[in-house]
């Protein structure tokens, strides 16, 4: 069920430069189910900024009734969101989208998880579930630089974790693909991040089953406005909507 709820802000902190970790509590959490889904947040009661902001659910705790979002405060909307403090409310619509399928991961599978920048958050919830299901997650997380990197420890707690930065200020200097090349074979892979990264990763992993999470500018967030379509490889007029058919698609479905 999709709810529009004024959720309680339980905590918010800056965990890296302009990167915020926001914990929200409410009934909406009951329906999250699979990791990789997202919520659509209204950041003001006025009309400027007007549109909701789509943010992935990084992880959730159904016992506590809370979920954690991680986002970069950059433009108007996310900067307003970053001003919220514990005890205030946030206007949240969700959960939305399909999320990562967990079924393909068998116990004992070696699973590659590749995140880029602000694409990293939903992979944390995913990795937790995969680990719980007996798979062996291997993480490769790419960031611009050390000061915007986050969650290295959290991912390390779940499995082998490699960090890359463009400027070499943390982990390996370079791109995620430079590291993946050296990690051997995988049974399955998941990735979320900028399109060039998704392209490079899916090219490199050709032949392995994989799932990619996409971003596109959104209007409604629920499939009604056709703002967020992507061409599919299938045929000229084929398309999928990132918000309601995705944001996660099996590698090969969306034309890259």
């Amino acid at each position: 069920m999709i709810r529009n709820e004024r959720m309680e802000v339980v905590a918010q902190q800056e965990i890296a430069q302009n990167i915020f970790e926001l914990v929200l509590k409410g009934k909406l959490v009951e329906d999250i189910g699979t990791p990789g889904r997202f919520v659509h947040i209204r950041t003001t009661d006025g009309f400027d900024p007007l549109l909701r902001r789509p943010i992935s659910i990084s992880s959730s705790d159904s016992g506590e009734g809370t979920m954690t979002l991680i986002y970069r405060a950059e433009g108007k909307g996310t900067s307003l969101l970053a001003q919220k403090t514990a005890g205030e409310e946030a206007d949240v619509l969700g959960p939305l989208g399909n999320g990562f399928p967990l079924a393909p991961a068998k116990s004992g599978d070696r699973v590659l998880i590749v995140g880029g920048g602000i694409g990293v958050p939903p992979l944390y919830g995913l990795s937790k579930k995969l680990k719980a299901a007996g798979a062996e997650p291997v993480h490769v997380l790419g960031f611009q630089s050390a000061d915007v990197a986050f969650y290295e420890e959290e991912f390390s707690g779940l499995g082998e974790t490699h960090i890359t930065t463009v400027d070499g200020s943390a982990g390996t200097r370079g791109f995620v693909t430079d590291v993946i090349r050296q990690l051997g074979d995988f049974d399955l892979y998941y990735s979320c991040g900028p399109i060039p990264m998704l392209t490079a990763v899916s090219d490199m992993m050709e032949g392995t089953e994989g799932y990619l999470s996409f971003e596109e500018r959104m209007g409604c967030g629920i499939g009604a406005c056709f703002a967020c379509v992507c061409h599919t490889d299938a045929n000229e007029k084929g398309y999928v909507k990132v918000c309601s058919d995705g944001p996660v698609f099996r590698a090969g479905v969306v034309k890259l």
Binding site: I2, F47, C220, C230
Partner: protein, 304 residues
């Protein structure tokens, strides 16, 4: 007696609130959120003769109190709309207004003839004003003579009343309104979006892949209200007003300006429950204003 009831050509509305075309698809998504039978009517997504993929992305961009869109009339095409989308909507007790778009008179005529026979389609909304499609639309909407001819052609084949949707991107909206009234239109809907642009300051490129997009949302409300006021001063067919409606007083204002009913577009993206909320809020607001039936509001400002 239902004090929110409004009677319009072809439309017996429980209340004057309906989602605007293109902001509500064919209803399926919002049906997950609330009972569509609550709505006065539904203006479904523009339908064209053939399926359309539409424009490249990005298709939307935010602007101060508004947004730009250039969806490009993506839709599954007449066949699929008539055989799948509209029949699915029959489960709800709500009249459908079918928004029809095309590039040539023949397209419009073909779609209107067929779609107007669908049992739950109670009216056509003739989209002569979509700013995001290269050929066709824009000339139909800005030239009175062409708009009138198209209206006549469509009226000749339609089984239901025809409302013509006017473009705000014109010097004199009343000239187009009078022309389509002469062409036999049963009603008017306005406004469609204002043509606008946004740029990426880093690159200087337009943010919308199509270059220009249509501006909607609260930002355009003053222009929409003015045009509803002007048009209802110069024609006698009824008007369904839209452009930036988001709050109950916006409904009051559009009706005061002359509208008989009100459509809600962009606000559905901001508050997904806005339509039922407006419907629920109206009786209380009418009480505060000392108004019995909502129809008393229509054109109130002209009578002062």
């Amino acid at each position: 007696m239902n004090r929110l009831q409004v009677e319009l050509p072809g439309l017996n509305l429980k209340n004057p609130i309906m989602p605007a075309s293109g902001c509500f698809g064919f209803g399926k998504e919002y049906a997950q959120l609330y009972d569509l039978s609550k709505l006065g009517a539904i203006m479904v997504k523009a339908t064209t003769l053939e399926p359309r993929y539409g424009n490249p992305t990005p298709r939307v961009a935010e602007t101060p109190s508004g947004m730009l869109n250039a969806i490009g009339l993506q839709n599954p095409g007449l066949e699929k709309v008539v055989s799948e989308e509209l029949p699915w909507l029959e489960q709800f007790d709500v009249p459908i207004i079918a928004n029809v778009a095309g590039s040539e008179t023949e397209d419009y005529v073909a779609v209107c003839e067929r779609i107007s026979k669908s049992p739950n389609v109670h009216a056509i909304e003739l989209n002569i004003s979509c700013p995001n499609v290269k050929c066709g639309g824009i000339t139909f909407g800005t030239d009175p003579a062409i708009a009138k001819e198209l209206t006549q052609a469509v009226k000749a084949v339609s089984s239901v009343p025809v409302y013509v949707k006017l473009s705000p991107n014109v010097t004199d909206v009343t000239a187009i309104a009078r022309a389509v009234e002469e062409g036999g239109a049963d009603g008017l809907t306005l406004i469609n979006t204002l043509v606008g642009m946004r740029f990426d300051p880093r690159t200087g490129r337009p943010v919308i892949a199509n270059g220009t997009g249509g501006l909607s949302g609260p930002a355009v409300k003053p222009v929409a209200l003015r045009m509803v006021y002007e048009v209802t001063s110069s024609v006698s067919i009824p008007v369904i007003g839209m452009g930036g409606v988001a709050e109950v007083d916006d409904v009051i204002d559009f009706m005061s300006a002359g509208a008989s009913a009100v459509a809600v577009g962009t606000a559905n993206f901001v508050d997904h429950f806005v339509c039922p909320k407006l419907i629920d809020a109206l009786p209380g607001r009418l009480d505060e204003l000392g108004i019995g039936n909502i129809t008393e509001l229509t054109g109130r400002s002209h009578r002062l």
